[in-house]
């Protein structure tokens, strides 16, 4: 029997983006010995790509804002299938979490009276996003990283977790390998926090990096936790579409918040054409009002470009499908037009959107202060994920917690921009706090060498198949399948076909082979990632089939309307005793009266 290097922690946090770092900091501050596993180097997680800002009702720019409005906005954006308690905690606690970042050294843009500046964003009634130009995510991750490294957290960089380890029904650790030498490691822990982010790599066009293969989703599912709302995948309306090599790279919603408008090839501002009923009262009916809103006039309503992401994406797809798209299969996003409205517009754009300016200049030869960008939807975020207790973030498995994108509930059917960074902070903190508490109250569990040996043996199988199929090709085919068959517009026929093809891909994945040795071998990593990608892809397809309606991010061409039958249910995916994926519907918990009133008052 081989020996494995073993680490013992009170709390093991898997994932080192915003949620993981925040959880690690909190657990460590509570006195726990914390281990933090990063798939890449510390500080490189996808949180750095967040651009627009952190949503929190600080009311620094508009004193009418408060947690109730933020809560109502979040629920409306999520089409009321959100976990109401999470949305409530999030709205109430986000302001403190932002102020805490400032106490740890973050340097947000300022208001004229020296406080944290807030900007408008889609679906938020008032200017609510604390930000640093368009690099807020970098500011956040660096602040957490620099604060965290002085707390004595043990950081395990460039490690991949292959499986959670259980002692009966309790999660007692994790097993994985370190990239540099390819060696396996056992992490024993009294409590484990999953904070692994999203699933974007299941799709061909995505803003996500190679890391986002649904690891936390799949690890939790395999261990016996529930996944909820997996059908709700957010396609961000504005990703780059040209040149081909940059397709999918994110263009921040901040462009539209600063006054950017969407145009079709005829120069028509098409977003005015269809404004959803529940947003009509909040949306400008003329261009002038929209511009005044972006300029901070409190009596103006938002321009239709700042409607929720699900809606904007669908409008863009409609324009493209009906032949009114731009030459490279997108639509135009124009911020340069604001020079008609303000002096020094070019300087203003460069100041407010520096990384967008840089990104387009360098990657597409486009000067966004002078000409429009071409954009189209890109897979960005999954609202669905591991089901957790809203207060403690514990999953249905004892000792297993989840926070951030890989956990679910707060966003419902569609996430508002800016709510992700605040979600990471609020629930990262809560997960860390309650994981540390759990660790204090429980002793280390037993890890059986046998279960570890099985995982290690399976992980090494691709090396025995020198003539096996190239894992990169399997991944590419999977991404194309999900993009084409389980993308923005869905039908039963296409998804049934996808499920059939997923089974074939599963078989191919079992035959994948890698060449070379175990040290820093990205081919091996790609082969290992396939397992998780296939699990989340199946969950997305199955739950999307189950929800026979269109709501939020899920658009079914064969069921184009909302259906009362699905208005108050979540889809649940879990692993059955025979190893198959089981899907069921469960009613949402009943919302208490005081929250119903909050929603009613903010209609």
């Amino acid at each position: 029997m081989p020996d494995y290097e073993t680490f013992e922690h009170d709390v093991l946090v898997i994932g080192a983006g915003g949620a993981g770092l925040r959880a690690a900091i909190e657990a460590s501050a509570a006195g726990a010995r914390v281990g933090l596993v990063c798939k890449s180097l510390l500080g490189k997680a996808h949180t750095v790509m967040a651009e627009g800002g952190i949503a929190a009702a600080l009311a620094n720019v508009d004193e009418r804002d408060n947690w109730k409005v933020h809560f109502a906005d979040t629920m409306r954006g999520g089409q009321y299938v959100n976990q109401w308690r999470m949305a409530e905690l999030h709205a109430k606690e986000a302001p403190d979490r932002v102020r805490e970042l400032e106490a740890w050294g973050a340097v947000f843009d300022r208001t004229k009276d020296g406080r944290i500046l807030q900007r408008h964003f889609g679906g938020h009634k008032y200017p609510r996003l604390a930000h640093v130009g368009d690099r807020t995510g970098l500011e956040m991750i660096r602040t957490l990283q620099d604060h965290g490294v002085h707390q004595g957290i043990d950081v395990h960089m460039e490690h991949t977790i292959l499986s959670l380890l259980k002692d009966g029904d309790r999660v007692v650790g994790a097993f994985g390998y370190e990239r540099e030498r390819g060696r396996f490691k056992i992490f024993g822990a009294k409590a484990v926090v999953l904070a692994t982010g999203g699933i974007g790599r299941a799709y061909k066009i995505t803003s996500n990096s190679w890391e986002y293969t649904g690891d936390g989703h799949a690890l939790a599912y395999e261990a016996g936790a529930d996944l909820i709302d997996m059908e709700f995948v957010q396609f961000h309306p504005t990703g780059m579409v040209w040149p081909p090599s940059v397709m999918g790279i994110l263009v921040t919603e901040g462009v539209r918040a600063e006054g950017g408008i969407l145009l079709n090839k005829d120069g028509k501002r098409f977003m005015f054409e269809s404004i959803p009923e529940n947003y009509q009262a909040h949306t400008a009916d003329n261009e002038e009002e929209g511009w005044r809103y972006c300029q901070g006039h409190k009596d103006a309503r938002r321009p239709p470009e700042l409607l929720t992401r699900d809606h904007v994406s669908r409008c863009i797809v409609r324009e493209i499908k009906e032949g009114r798209g731009s030459p490279h299969g997108g639509v135009y996003l124009d911020i340069s037009w604001i020079k008609q409205k303000m002096p020094n517009a070019a300087e203003h754009i460069k100041r407010k959107l520096p990384s967008m300016y840089h990104q387009f200049k360098q990657l597409a030869d486009i000067d966004i202060t002078d000409e429009p960008m071409e954009v189209g939807p890109t897979t960005h975020y999954i609202m669905g994920g591991v089901r957790v207790d809203p207060d403690t973030q514990m999953t249905r498995l004892t000792g297993l917690f989840a926070a951030g994108e890989c956990a679910a509930g707060i966003n419902g059917a569609n996430r508002l921009g800016g709510n992700s960074l605040s979600d990471l902070l609020v629930f990262g903190k809560r997960a860390g706090e309650f994981a540390a508490k759990f660790a204090r109250e429980n002793s280390q569990g037993d890890i059986s060498k046998d279960q570890v040996d099985v995982i290690a043996r399976q992980a090494l199988e691709p090396f025995d198949r020198n003539d096996g199929e190239n894992p990169y090709e399997i991944q590419k085919d999977l991404q194309e399948l999900m993009q084409d068959n389980v993308g923005i517009v869905r039908t039963e026929t296409e998804m049934q076909d996808a499920l059939k093809q997923l089974r074939q891909l599963n078989e191919r994945a079992n035959r994948a082979g890698v060449i070379g040795h175990r040290e820093y071998n990205p081919g091996w990593q790609t082969a290992l990632d396939l397992t998780n990608l296939l699990i989340v892809s199946e969950a997305i397809a199955l739950t999307a089939l189950e929800r026979e309606e269109s709501r939020g991010a899920q658009f079914r061409e064969d069921y184009p309307d909302k259906d009362e039958r699905f208005a108050k249910v979540n889809t649940i995916a879990s692993k059955a005793a025979d190893g198959s994926m089981q899907i069921r519907l469960e009613p949402l918990p009943e919302m208490p009266e005081y929250l119903k009133q909050v929603i009613e008052k903010n209609r």
Binding site: V48, M49, V107, E139, E180, P243, S245, G523
Partner: protein
């Protein structure tokens, strides 16, 4: 068009440039070519990357001898009539192929004294800062930790003085803390004594390679050098320092 590449393959024990070729399409960056080669010809070719948009600083390498982010280097900017060479950063030990052991950087950062804010300005526990006072700090905080400045700094690259000099990245980190309007910590003594700011002789190589265009030398290192001089070599400054020390005792 078909483009040729020479990519360094090897590990800590040595390596060689191997020849590859791949189709180059419009807008392609060096990282795209590396990915194509990985997918079709060399699945075990090691390289780091994440965001692919110049925001995470993972894919640092030397392209035709120049320290670059592979994701932001367009092939159309390079001469393609001869092979494009790609090799790992030279200031750090090689792990495999294009990946290097950059863990030294993380250890160095841990040794820099953390942010220590003054007491809050307002009863609700918040502070007031003015945009014009934080512009400079925000410039430094744009750093994506790609370590290209460390790679090109001759003190580290040629003289390998990693134990005596923290390098431009961390001088900028110190500058961001020292110039933070809320910070109350003093880091000047270790800048001179253990962090080796004196070794920098302002050749500005770091500034030239910074993908975030941070004016590392002019805006960061030179003002820090001035603070060191004021504190240690100006008699008044020296006296003030002594006084502060005595008062703090």
């Amino acid at each position: 068009m078909n483009v040729s590449f020479k990519i360094w393959r090897g590990d800590a024990n040595g390596g060689v440039f191997r020849d590859y070729a791949t189709e180059c399409t419009e807008g392609m960056v060096v990282l795209d070519a590396v990915h194509d080669i990985q997918r079709t010809q060399a699945p075990d070719l090691a390289c780091r990357w994440n965001c692919k948009a110049g925001k995470c600083g993972s894919c640092s390498a030397e392209v035709n001898g120049m320290p670059k982010l592979m994701c932001m280097t367009r092939l159309s900017e390079l001469p393609l009539d001869k092979p494009v060479t790609i090799e790992p950063m030279k200031a750090f030990p090689v792990i495999k192929d294009l990946t290097t052991d950059v863990s030294w950087n993380f250890r160095v950062k841990k040794k820099v004294k953390p942010f220590k804010p003054r007491a809050p300005d307002a009863p609700d526990g918040t502070w007031r800062m003015w945009q014009e006072d934080i512009d400079r700090v925000q410039e430094f905080r744009k750093c994506i930790e790609c370590f290209l400045c460390q790679d090109v700094c001759h003190v580290l690259r040629d003289h390998q003085m990693h134990d005596q000099f923290i390098g431009p990245r961390f001088l900028i980190h110190v500058a961001a803390l020292e110039m933070h309007p809320l910070d109350t910590e003093d880091r000047i003594e270790e800048l001179r004594n253990t962090q080796g700011i004196g070794y920098c002789n302002i050749t500005k190589c770091c500034t030239k390679v910074c993908p975030e265009s941070i004016q590392i030398t002019d805006n960061g290192i030179i003002p820090l050098k001035e603070r060191v001089v004021d504190d240690f070599y100006d008699p008044l400054g020296w006296f003030w320092r002594l006084l502060k020390k005595l008062l703090n005792r």
